[in-house]
C-alpha cells in the first residue's frame, strides 16, 4: 500500500472541514441547551410543584399511574400520576383511555391544572418502557420471587 504524505493542500482542506463541523455542531449544542425546557416533552409531578403560575397553562405531565388509584366514576377517569420521588398529581380525564394504560405503568397527560389542584387532561398517552419480555419469563420471575410488577 502506498503511504500518503500529508501535503499542505490536504491539511488545508481538512482544517476547512473541521472548522465547518465545529462551528455547526457548537451552534446546535448552544441552541439545544438554551431550548432545553422546550425540547423536554413532559415534566414530572415534582417539577410541577416547583413551577410558578401554572394556572390555565397547557402542560404535559409524565410518570407512572399510582397503584390502586385508577377509578372510573360518572364517566370520568380518575387517577394519580406518581414519579420516583413519590410526588403525585391527581388527574381527571373524560374521554377513552388508550389500551395500554394500566396501574404502575408509564403515562403522559396533557392539559391544564385547575384551581383545586386537579389536573384536567385533554389527551392521555401511554408511555411504554424499554423492557420487553414474554409471559413465560414473567411467570418464571414470579416463581423466583423477583417480579415487582402487578
Amino acid at each position: 500500500m502506498r503511504i500518503i504524505k500529508l501535503n499542505n493542500q490536504i491539511k488545508k482542506r481538512f482544517i476547512f472541514l473541521l472548522v465547518i463541523f465545529v462551528c455547526f455542531s457548537s451552534s446546535i449544542v448552544l441552541i439545544s441547551y438554551s431550548l432545553k425546557d422546550q425540547i423536554a416533552y413532559f415534566v414530572s409531578p415534582s417539577d410541577l410543584q416547583q413551577m410558578q403560575n401554572i394556572d390555565n397553562k397547557y402542560l404535559r405531565v409524565g410518570g407512572l399511574v399510582k397503584k390502586g388509584s385508577l377509578k372510573f366514576d360518572k364517566n370520568i377517569w380518575k387517577f394519580e400520576v406518581i414519579d420516583e420521588f413519590n410526588q403525585t398529581v391527581e388527574v381527571e380525564f373524560s374521554k377513552t383511555l388508550p389500551n395500554l394504560v394500566e396501574e404502575n405503568k408509564g403515562i403522559i397527560v396533557e392539559g391544564v391544572m385547575n384551581k383545586e389542584n386537579i389536573f384536567i387532561a385533554e389527551i392521555v398517552l401511554a408511555k411504554h418502557d424499554e423492557n420487553y419480555m414474554p409471559q413465560s419469563a414473567i411467570d418464571k420471575m414470579r416463581n423466583d420471587g423477583i417480579w415487582r410488577g402487578n
Partner: protein, 234 residues
Amino acid sequence: MFAITPNTLSNFLNSISRYIIFLTIILLVVSGVLIILLENDYYQGISFKIMFIHVPAAWLSLLLFSIMGVSSIIGLVFKSPTSFTISRAMSPIGFIMSIIVLITGSIWGNLTWGTYWVWDARLTSMLILSFIYLGHILLLYSFDHFQKADFAASILAIIGLVNLPIVKFSVDWWTTLHQGSSILKIGGPSVTTDYFITLLISFFSLFLLCIYWFSNIFYIIIENRKIERSKLLE
C-alpha cells in the same frame, strides 16, 4: 484505500453480490420464522413484533449516514472519487430505511401510545435525519456535472453528522414519549435472550440486504458514467 478506483470497487462488488443475496435470503427466512415463532410480549401483545423491523432499520439509517459522512470527509480531503461514489450510492438506501423507521414507528405508536405522531425529541430528530437524506439525494441530482454535485452533497453529509448523536441520545438528554434504548445501553440489553437473538439476526439480514442493494446501485452509477463518457468521445 486510495488506490481503489470506482471501477475496481464496482467490479469487486458485482462479483460478490450473488453470494451476498444468497446469504441475505437465508437470513431473511430464518429471521421471519423466528419472528413468527416468538412468544408475544406480556404487555403489548403481538404489536411488539414491529420492533424486529423498526429497530434494525433505525440502526441502519444511523449506520449508513455515519458511513456516508466519513466517506464524504475522506472524499473532500483526499479528492477520492471512490468515497464520493460510496456516499452517492448510500443515500437512497438510508432514506428508505429512515422512512421505514418512521412508518413502522407510527403504526406501533398508535397501537401502544395512542397516537401516530408527537413532536418529541426522538421523533423530530429522526424526521430531520430523513429530511437530510432527502436533501442529499436532491443535491446529488441538481447539478449538471456530477463532481460539483458530489462537493455540495458531501458538505451536507458532514453537517448532517451533527444530527446522529442527537438522534441516538435524545431519549437520555431530554424527556420524551419514546422509550429509552433497550439494547445499546449501559447495563446490557433489557430484553430477554430470545428476543435479542432474533433482533440481531433480523438486523444482519437487513444489513446484508442493504449491502446487496448498495452494490447494485454502485454498479449502475459506474456503468452509466461509462456510457456517458463513450457518448462524449463519439
